[in-house]
Symmetry: C2
Subunit: 379 residues, 2 copies
Amino acid sequence: MQFSIKRTLFVKKLNDVQRAISSKTTIPILTGIKLALTDAGLMLTGSDADISIEAFISATDEKNELEIGSTGAIVLPARFFSEIVKKLPEDTMTLEVKDNFQTELRSGSASFTINGLDANNYPHLPSIDTEKQVVIDANVLKQLIAQTVIAVSTQESRPILTGVHLVLDNQELLAVATDSHRLSQRKLHLDIDKDIHYDVIIPGKSLLELSRTLSDDVETVEMRIAENQVLFVAGTISFYSRLLEGNYPETSRLIPSSSTTQVEFNAPQLLAAIERASLLSHASHNNVIKLTLDPAKDDVTIYGNSPDVGNVQETLTHSNLDGEQLEISFNPDYMKDALRSFGQTEIQVAFTSALRPFTLVPTEDQDHFVQLITPVRTF
Amino acid sequence: MQFSIKRTLFVKKLNDVQRAISSKTTIPILTGIKLALTDAGLMLTGSDADISIEAFISATDEKNELEIGSTGAIVLPARFFSEIVKKLPEDTMTLEVKDNFQTELRSGSASFTINGLDANNYPHLPSIDTEKQVVIDANVLKQLIAQTVIAVSTQESRPILTGVHLVLDNQELLAVATDSHRLSQRKLHLDIDKDIHYDVIIPGKSLLELSRTLSDDVETVEMRIAENQVLFVAGTISFYSRLLEGNYPETSRLIPSSSTTQVEFNAPQLLAAIERASLLSHASHNNVIKLTLDPAKDDVTIYGNSPDVGNVQETLTHSNLDGEQLEISFNPDYMKDALRSFGQTEIQVAFTSALRPFTLVPTEDQDHFVQLITPVRTF
């Protein structure tokens, strides 16, 4: 195996693949990166057994400057190999596998020899054959991931809740996540075959890594689902993740269909006020802030308190406050996550009572996105 | 005590003073920031007992927008107070001390009440009266600090070596630091009174903090030295540090006056090569790289090796290689620190033998700056 390549392009592809590689793995060969060179081009593979990423560098794409001397495969220690490639002196580098998997890297007057491993010992990636292809706009997918993973549980006590529940039915994709204190639900219409139906749970961590892997120049992502794996193909990158096994709890009836108090806010403005109030609630052991809504006086006020440090109150800018008077307390961190997921937009918040979950939806197009937060009992 | 102030300016001054405040202090009042308001303006003070920083906000400087209602003093919890001020909603804020040191902050519709402490319990800063003023160009002082603190010892086994030795004599300032493996020495001519003589040791940590405190708009720094304290005055900032007590070792005779092998490099180019070689030496337990110099072949080559990962060799671009053939090994991290301190410049490296310290000096103006590194015995 021998080739030369444009170094900046190679570094970029190594970075993509390295997202999948964990330094904590217990399988030694997975600390390595696999390079497999055919006449078609160079395939890089990284994996931590949960997720795997492949990046392909085509021999026919001239901007890669890939010159193939001889084909073959090798596994090289991922961290060292990437660091060395990054620091090589010239624009071009040459890699050659010699005896006993010893691999020589050359660039300018620098010459590295690295101990490689036999690529035959690298695990095979699952093959996912399906004709039911689902194509999603890359930016929409990134937004859907950002809006739902915030509500994914980080605790392993109920592993199923560490995933995002994806249901695809009748051209509608429904994504739901909940850690049982809050819930996030996003709906998406897809122009695909009406017969395609899926019901899967993808680990939140995998979706986050996928989102980071999607570069700005990727326009669409193709999703393929098999028995226990999902594959996302984006340009020259293939991203594999295992699926979570089990039944996701029924969530549709958790979202209240009516409310007794409603109010509208500008999301970034409300976020800034919550951040101020949480400075004091964070210094307190229960981390709760209180919101009072008084439609008769058209007043919404927020309160934060820490016995050690002090307290804060702030009258909130709002509109269309309507319904019954209410006093409600909640964890400001859930509120901050939820508000950030709306971006620069106007939102409607709807309450039922001080002990029932309340919802946040965009004032426009209320149906496609909802955040739900369970209040905290303080009396 | 009551005042209103332009918030952005106040945040900047709070940041300056907060550099001195440690969250690890065992003296509770030093977790606070002292605000003392007189008709002249507002003085902010932060301290960790080793260093203290004062920042003054003048009432007569209109751009501060300081409006004084009533004078007085208070100590407020530094971290919370700064975070709150940063997040307040409007451009202007008002602070008012009420009963029992309760302090109210107002900005827009937000109102914070913070528990303060009696300013009478805050320690007094030393008064440093001296007529022997030493004025140094701020950028030159920053450079001198950057060039010497790299060689300061980080181990408390010989506390005196954690400081930089400053000797001021006959209009020359000599700054020396050594951790006994390497040494850095910088000389500076100062246009000051010839009678001014000082010999002090300033903690390296203090000098680093001073350097970070000096903003780009500061042109000169005034240094005042008393019995066991040094004060640096830069614009509206006063920076106090304790001095280290004891005798600094005699260092002048450590620097060799002759050499047997000399060579010149471009500092950033050599740095890049050392960084490449250290990728492998860092993976090895002894972290050593080897340099061979062969004047007969006009060849300089660097070698790095790790039994686990592999090895590297690189022929180095150089000029004016002269003297005896030599093979020498050293810690690449010392070399990297030294090379970074030269910036974008040509340097001369001079060797005596494989076991004697070697020196790095700028090719131009060799007298004012020298870095010395002790090699590692590998046989």
